[in-house]
Symmetry: C3
Subunit: 324 residues, 3 copies
C-alpha cells in the first residue's frame, strides 16, 4: 500500500469518527465544556497531603524556623486551585440542571476557605487513624512506618477531604478524589460514607465502602471487606432510585476480617462485634456477637431462637478466641 493510499484511508476514517461524535453524544467533551479533570484535582490532593503530613508526601521538608511560611505558601496555592476546580464543578452542575445554588465567585471562595478551615480538624482525626494502625497491627514498628508504608493512610486522608467536599454538594470532585485514591491503594471508599474516629484498614486491597455506609469509632477492617448494597429499589418508571440508605451501619469497636461481605441499608453490626473472614451478612448482628464462617449455618438456625454467640461463649468456634 502506498503512503497515499494509507493517508486517504486515514482521512476517511477520521471523517467517520467525527460523525460518531455527533451520533454517540454524551461521551465527548467538545468545545471545552468546563469539567473538573483528574490532573488538577490530584494537584489539590498533593497540596493537602503536604500540609496534613508535612515532610512525608511532598517534595519539601520544612524547617522549624520557617514552618509558618511553609504552611502559608501551601494554603495560598491550595486556595487558588480549589477556587478554580470548584467553579468548574459548579458550572458543570448548572449546565446539567443538577445544582440549585447560584454560582458566584463568593460562593466558591467561601467553600474553598471552608475546606481549608477543616484542615486542623482533619489532622487530629488522621492522628487517631494512624495511631489505630500502630496499635492494631502486630507487624507495625512505628508511626513513621504507618505513614510511609500503609496504603490506608492515603485512602482515609483522601476520604476525610473528599467527604467535606461531598457535604458541600460540590459535584464530581469528591469522586475524582476517591477514585484517585482507589487507583493508588485499591481501597474504594465512596466520599459519601461517614467514618468515625480511629479507623484502621490493614492491607486494604479490595475494600469497598458504599455511599451511605456509616462507620463508628475504633473500627478495624481487613482486605476484601465489602460494605455494600443489598437490593436496588426501582422507581415506577423502572429506573434505579438513587437515594436512601442502601449500605450498612457499623457501630463502635467492631473488627471485620478479610473478605467479609456485609450488605443492606438496614443492616447494623452492633458494637464490639467480631465479624469473621469470608462471612456473608445481610441482616443485623446484635452487639458483642462473634460471627464466623463455620457458624454461619448455625447462626442462621439460631436466629429464630434469638440465641446469640456472645464473646467468650463460643464453644462452637474451632480455635482460640478470637477467630478470624
Amino acid at each position: 500500500m502506498s503512503m497515499n493510499d494509507a493517508g486517504q484511508k486515514l482521512t476517511d476514517i477520521a471523517e467517520r469518527i467525527v460523525e460518531t461524535y455527533k451520533k454517540e453524544g454524551g461521551i465527548n467533551r467538545i468545545d471545552g465544556v468546563n469539567l473538573p479533570a483528574t490532573a488538577p484535582v490530584v494537584e489539590i490532593l498533593d497540596d493537602l497531603m503536604e500540609i496534613l503530613f508535612p515532610g512525608y508526601f511532598g517534595k519539601r521538608v520544612p524547617a522549624r524556623s520557617n514552618i509558618l511560611f511553609f504552611v502559608q505558601s501551601a494554603i495560598d496555592r491550595l486556595f487558588l486551585r480549589l477556587l478554580d476546580e470548584f467553579k468548574r464543578a459548579c458550572q458543570y452542575a448548572q449546565s446539567i440542571d443538577a445544582f440549585d445554588g447560584e454560582i458566584t465567585r463568593t460562593t466558591c471562595e467561601e467553600k474553598a476557605l471552608s475546606l481549608i478551615d477543616c484542615i486542623p480538624h482533619i489532622r487530629s482525626l488522621l492522628k487517631k487513624d494512624i495511631t489505630a494502625g500502630f496499635e492494631g497491627d502486630p507487624a507495625s514498628k512505628s508511626l513513621e512506618e504507618i505513614i510511609s508504608c500503609y496504603p490506608y493512610v492515603y485512602a482515609i486522608a483522601t476520604h476525610r477531604i473528599a467527604h467535606e467536599i461531598y457535604k458541600m454538594e460540590i459535584p464530581l470532585i469528591p469522586r475524582i478524589m476517591s477514585e484517585w485514591a482507589h487507583r493508588r491503594t485499591s481501597i474504594d471508599i465512596h466520599p459519601g460514607a461517614i467514618i468515625g474516629k480511629s479507623f484502621f484498614i490493614d492491607h486494604g486491597t479490595g475494600v469497598v465502602i458504599g455511599e451511605t455506609a456509616k462507620i463508628g469509632d475504633n473500627v478495624k477492617i481487613y482486605q476484601g471487606v465489602t460494605l455494600g448494597a443489598l437490593s436496588f429499589k426501582k422507581n415506577p418508571d423502572g429506573s434505579l432510585e438513587k437515594s436512601g440508605k442502601r449500605h450498612p451501619t457499623v457501630e463502635n469497636d467492631v473488627t471485620i476480617y478479610s473478605g467479609a461481605t456485609i450488605l443492606g441499608g438496614e443492616t447494623v453490626i452492633g458494637e464490639k462485634c467480631i465479624i469473621g473472614a469470608n462471612t456473608w451478612i445481610t441482616s443485623s448482628v446484635p452487639a458483642g456477637t462473634l460471627v464466623t464462617y463455620q457458624d454461619q449455618q448455625i447462626y442462621r438456625v439460631a436466629k429464630r431462637n434469638i440465641a446469640v454467640h456472645k464473646r467468650g461463649e463460643n464453644g462452637k468456634t474451632k480455635n482460640s478466641d478470637p477467630v478470624i
Copy 2:
C-alpha cells in the same frame, strides 16, 4: 573499607552478574532483540483514549471548529506508532517460530489501518457500556461522572482495543495493554475474552476474566468476581495444554455479585440469572435462576431433582428479592 576495596568488590560482582546472563538465559534482552515494551504501547493506548473520549483522557480539549483536524492528527500519529509496535511484535514472534505469517510492511500497515478502522464501532460499544453503568449504579449521577471516575471505563475500553489486536494474532501487545489496564484499575481481563454489549463492572477491584470466557449483552458484575478455569488438561508429555475453552460462558442479562467464583469451560450461566455474592459455581446454572450463598447447600441437593430457584419463587432467601 577503603573505596578501592569497595570498588574492587563491585567489579568482581559485576563480572559474576555477567556470567549469570550467559547461564540464566531466557530472562535477558541483550543486543536489543526487538520486543514491544510497555511505554510505547501505553502511548498507543493514550492516543486511542484521546480519540475514543475526546476531551476526557488526553491533554487537549478539542473545539468544534477544528474537530476534524484534531482527529486527523491524532490518528496519523497513532498509525505510525501502531506500525512500529506491530512490526516489533511480529519480528519477535517470527524469532521464536510462533508466527506463521510473513512480516511485511504491507501486512503491518493493513493491520494498523484495520485497528483504526474499528474505532467508530468501538466508540458505539463504549457508549452502551457507559450507559449501562449509569443505569446500573444508584450512586452514579451522570455519564460524565462515569467516564471521569469509574475505573471499569478504562478497563473495558482497553479490552475492546486489545481484543481486536488479539484477533489479528499479533503477540504480546494485547497482553501488555490488558496488564497496563490491570495495573491502573485492578481489573484483569484477558484480551482473548469475548464481551457483549452494555457491559458494566461496578467497583471492580479483583475482577478476573479468563482468556476463553464468553460474556453476553447487558451483563453486570461486581468486585472480586472470577470467571476462571476449572482444571488444567495436560499433554501426554506432562506440559499444560494451552488451548481449548477453559473459562465460563455468561449469557445475556446476568448479574454477578461481589466475590462470586465461576469456573470451567463448560459452565454456562443461563440468561437472566442472578449469581449471589461469594458463591462458588462449577457447573451450569439454568436460565432465570437465583443462586445465593445460603442456597449453595440447598442447590447442591436440589440439583438431583432438577429443582431450580426461579426468580420470584425464592422462599429460601432471607431478604427481599433480589438478594446479593
Copy 3:
C-alpha cells in the same frame, strides 16, 4: 469577600495549622529528620530491576559488546544510592532507640555490598519463578510474555530484594519497597515472609502474605489468597505482642486457588495439597489433601475421625479432579 478578607482568613488558618503541628506530633517530619522516602527507594528498585532483567524494565537495552560496562555502571550507581538510604534508615532507627547496632559508614558499606552480592543468586531464583509461571499458566505463550506482562514478576523480584534487606534488620526500607510493589501490582507480600523456589502467583490482585509466613518450593497461588494471622496475642499491658510466628506454613508443591483464606502461625498446609477456591482454613491440613468449598462442612465433621481426602479418593467432589 475581598481578597484582603480571604487573605486574612488564610493567615489565621495557617497559624492554627502550625499549632496542630505542635499539638498532634508524631505525624510530622519537621527539621528534615532523616527518614528514607519512597522516591529514592523506588530509584533503587529501578536500578535493581535493570540489572536483574536487562533490557526489560530499564530505559537502556544493553549490547553484548558492552554488557560488562552496562553492569558496572549500574551497580556503581546502585551502591551509592543504597549507602545513602541505609544510612538514613539506621540513623532514624537509632533516633527512636530501635536499633542496637552502631551506625558507621563501614557498616552501611558492608550491607550495601552484601545486597549487591546477592544479585546473582536472586537472578537464579527469579529464573525459576518465571519458568514456574510459564509451566503453570495455560494462557502464557513465552518467558518474555511472563516478564513483560505478569504482575507477579515485579512483586516477587521486589520481595526477594526486600527480604534480604529485612534480614539485615534495616528498618523501613523493606516495607517501602513491598508497599511500592503492592501499589503497582495489588500483591501484598510482607518482606519478612520466607518464600522458596519456583514460586508463581497468577493474576494476583488481593494476595496477602504475612510477615511470618513460610512457603516452600513449587507453590502456586491465585488472586485473593490470604496467608494471614489467626489471633493477636496481647501483652500484659494490653498492647499487641509484635513477635512470634503468626502466619501459616505452606509446604512444597502446594496449589492454592483464588480467594482461599489460610490463617494461623501453627497452621501447616502439607506438601502436595490442593486448596480450593474460597476455602477457609484455620488448622493444619495433612499432606496430599484436597480441600474444597463444598467439602468444608464435611471436612469439619471428618476431622474427628481423622478421615482425610486423599488426592484421587475424592468421591465427594462434584467435577473432575482437581477441582479449583
